[in-house]
Symmetry: D2
Subunit: 353 residues, 4 copies
């Protein structure tokens, strides 16, 4: 059992607090012989970074990732790969005022209840800063999947607050705007919405979708090692996630069987309501996952809360925060998808040779 | 790693095929001293059983569960508890015609791709018959949670196809109808809908919700052992599940932070958008989970599919099937919730004494 | 984490008490397509059975193993294989007198301290009856290893009390006597020793060795997944085991490096002090393991002990017991070796393709 | 499953190569509230360090351990504790000559067989440098065990080559000599032996024993989670270990049951042949473990070996090596014992409250 480890055969264990000296992870189980260097990992980290536009937190971390072990002469050796990033723009003093307060909607209260103490600086371990390591580890997984199976993974913002953004998919648009929005016509609308939101001091939720193409059929396992169960866990483990769907997801509630079942012909499946997974095992179709992110609770708009002595207090959150955590979530859901798929490729070949 | 095991400290491993000689499970990690007998387990199994109304499969299994180990003089001993149920109403011949066919929407194709062979009788291992053991193991977990922490778990049908059923909750209604519908006025509507559906030969999806009350604050773990991540995995591992939500779920996409964050006063939380979990750890509020079930693909309405040689064939599914698997899903989601909570109680007290 | 599970990718979970209704296990992770039937498993069980000679316990169990799942049309399907054996010669009344006593050298006291209660009938879960399932699961592993890699496993009695038995190895002798003694000239000596011992009411220890041939090089993993560490755990988990050696074992304490290091030439290694494992990974040489078994503490010679109220009592153990548990240990150490090797073959091909 | 992780609830994952930039570990599952700082960890590291006497390797590492996470305001927070040590005295050039050679008795050949490549610098991952992190993690475990249960752990050198060193135990002597020898009269003999050995260019094996006092009764678990099985795995996972004994160990082979069974009176056990463990569970007696270490194979005395192309070569090992790895093994076996005990305390209280 492992509180801070993800995966079974391609495992990664992360550590580090938002405003501690460093964050990092150890990846265990990576096959030997994969060419990888810090530049490739950094390329993914940049996609997730704060401070790139006015619509995200203004914390500016260099995210200079170091590979401390497991790579020799440019290739993975099969031994554990440790990645380390020093925190360079931590600003613990921002959190002095919430040192003794529980911010509603945050982990402050529950960490206190669990541990009897907490590192209050920027959420400590519960900060989204931890997702940096998911993206870093995911960069290795996605490269391996790409090199060995041609797997392609792409996420996008599907909805931000009231704005649905993926009705007209333009794949090449996604990486060209700060929202990972796939519809170029929606970008100005998003900018205007976010400017107004920021001004209001409020935050908003989002939906982020992701697809993996060229996933081999046969990944997954029956019953409690289902590929979709592991994906659900992966996505729900991301900060602020509140819901996960595979394929048709909640739309299947109102569907008939004749609508939902994806018929097969010699040319392949006639639909993909299943989202690429049947009976917990990949079918070779695109794997489709959708994740709901709640609006962050770190607002400068005051609200009612308690302090650690049980007194009622007015709580105002300072510090540098994302008004919509979903904006930066795309690289994270991609990473989690890569991590799950890679783990399952290794699991599959263990049992099936 | 374990393909057929659920949980970490309260672990259960299930086995058995739909039309094999028996199904069963081994529960490892149950604390000693819990009074339990077959009658209590059976009481939960009856809630899940087929053949109780015309709206579910007509397979009639006695589900006479035997405790083979781990209980001595009426109490758990701390050693593994093995439960066994013989299959008494298997009818393998129903499946002769699909022996060489892949039923669309089923695990036939993917099991074949994974293993190169399959037990085709009634879906073999991928059959919902496996959920019997979830309910059996869950009966032990829920009794322990009730005795030790006063936890109460109750699920209900929230939607069946187009019919929303929980806008007027009547808790005492739930157990008095074959749908686990909480609104007595909706029951006739459901019956009429299902009668028409059955006549049409089609199937339909459903949404099942569940609540756990009196869950102690502090359950869960940071980052990859989050209570909500484990719940997502648990629910998504149930046959036919396509989506999972915690608390506000996908509604949080369109919410503002000021709407979503549950403020706190001395009298407690002022809302429960969070569904009882903050930062992956229980807050002491009700834990709320919602699961989407797809319409089953076992229909007598023909569709296009392939056989194992790659030929196109017309597929018609005979056998005894549920036109809406969501109808019997309530005891299963309750069991999965109990299993996750119990595992987390043990995990919590391991680290936190 | 799993108290009653052995292995990682080829996992087996056992259950059952010595005098309960049945014992059994679930094997998860077996590759599909292996031909196996009850007869082959039973052939191994017979080697372990009691009651075959006057030198072992006279309990006579039929050990009629049933395969309840995971095998279809004579082949493994990749889903969990459940094995069940009903206890047919349990005699719980033999243990009425120790119901409230802690037998020295047994698990009675420690189970009581751990759980606060215990199934006292024949040791309950701590009985050597559990090893039946190790042998049953091991039968599957050894067949798979043989079919896929040509691995051959053979154990033997190396010492019984003061009698060293393997100075003149005759491999074909091993299976032809009740001791698994490899030296035909030592068999009469063993018989005489055991007859006198039985008459005296005392018991004796033993050493059992085992070799695996044709083990592929590369099995194992660095540091905490070492093949030798897993073998040590496997052997030490057998009832009554008190020591484990790999290759030269404790003799290496007094060796010089020039004696111990196995030099290599084009014709292979010039020695096997290493026991086939270097740096935790198999070298392709024979894997050699030696295990020490203590003398059982179930004696009809009285001794001082305590009852559950803390009173001093004279303890005499009735029931049917082995005066030397090492006599029947050979098939068990073979099974454990097979289980470890198979797990590591699957682990190896997961990471190394 | 985890190749580089040790433990289940108190888990630590190590990383790093002998001559890479750094080594480190992540400890997951440490209870919150334990006071710990770098000084306390360093105090243990110093005991294991090379370069303290002429009898060990002359590599001089500062072992300045940094706590990167999981400790806040001097106390553990319950989140992962990352420890990092930079390698400051690596000298990779020493290994240029064995870049393409397999040193007999080392992991060179088997790593190559497993991974197809290797970090040849000082053994890379297979170097004893990894044990630094075991001692660091163990320092946290032993402090927690001491504070919470009064557990005391002490190891000693029991034999070095032909010299038995613990027939006259003087506990206070152990820490006052470079061998961890408990008999002051044997120290000059050891020094003379080692001086001659070093001069000869050869190496020698050793036996290291360890005791844990005040271990609570009830730790361990039946069958596959036995405390002794976990100890066997722990000790055998240490570099160069070839054998492990609990209590009487291999002496029990020749014992009678009347000799071995530790009788009990109101005053406690009358002996400790069991080594503090019965049926896999601690009895409250001293836990006694003995480990055999082989002589290292890194010798300047030439021997026959192969290179990676299969050619026969004469191999001479340069670099800085320990002529007896057992000399520095005492803090390592202590650490492994602490890690196992702590894991089992957490496991016990999970199931038993």
């Amino acid at each position: 059992m492992s509180h801070n480890t993800f995966g079974h055969l391609f495992r990664f264990t992360s550590f580090g607090e938002s405003h501690g000296p460093a964050i990092g992870c150890v990846i265990d189980g990576c096959p030997p012989g994969l060419e990888i260097d810090e530049t490739e990992i950094k390329a993914q980290l940049v996609r997730r970074a704060t401070g790139k536009s006015r619509h995200t937190s203004q914390r500016r971390e260099k995210d200079d990732v170091q590979i401390l072990s497991g790579v020799f002469e440019g290739k993975t050796t099969g031994t554990p790969i440790a990645l380390l990033i020093e925190n360079t723009d931590a600003r613990a003093r921002d959190y002095e005022n919430i040192k003794r307060q529980f911010r509603p909607g945050h982990a402050d209260f529950t960490y206190w209840k669990k541990y009897g103490l907490r590192d209050y600086r920027g959420g400590g371990r519960s900060s989204a800063r931890e997702t940096t390591m998911r993206v870093a580890a995911g960069a290795i997984a996605r490269k391996w999947l790409k090199m060995n199976h041609g797997v392609e993974i792409q996420g996008w913002l599907a909805q931000l607050g009231p704005i649905r953004t993926d009705e007209n998919m333009s794949w090449e648009t996604i990486e060209g705007n700060p929202f990972f929005c796939p519809d170029p016509e929606k970008v100005p609308e998003l900018e205007a919405f976010m400017d107004a939101l920021r001004k209001s001091g409020d935050s908003v939720g989002a939906r982020v979708n992701v697809v993996a193409r060229n996933v081999p059929a046969g990944l997954g396992a029956p019953v409690y090692g289902k590929l979709d169960a592991d994906l659900a866990s992966a996505m729900m483990s991301i900060n602020a996630a509140k819901g996960v769907e595979i394929g048709a997801g909640f739309e299947s509630v109102a569907q008939k069987g004749t609508q939902h079942r994806d018929e097969m012909t010699k040319d392949g499946f006639l639909g993909n309501q299943a989202g690429g997974i049947l009976g917990g095992i990949s079918s070779g179709q695109d794997v489709l996952v959708s994740t709901a992110f709640k609006p962050t609770s770190s607002l400068r708009i005051p609200c009612r809360g308690l302090d650690i002595d049980g007194n009622e207090v007015e709580i105002v959150t300072k510090g540098r925060h994302d008004p919509c955590v979903g904006i930066r979530a795309t690289p994270i859901v991609e990473a989690m998808l890569a991590l799950v798929l890679m783990d399952h490729v290794l699991r599959h070949r263990a049992q099936n040779g």
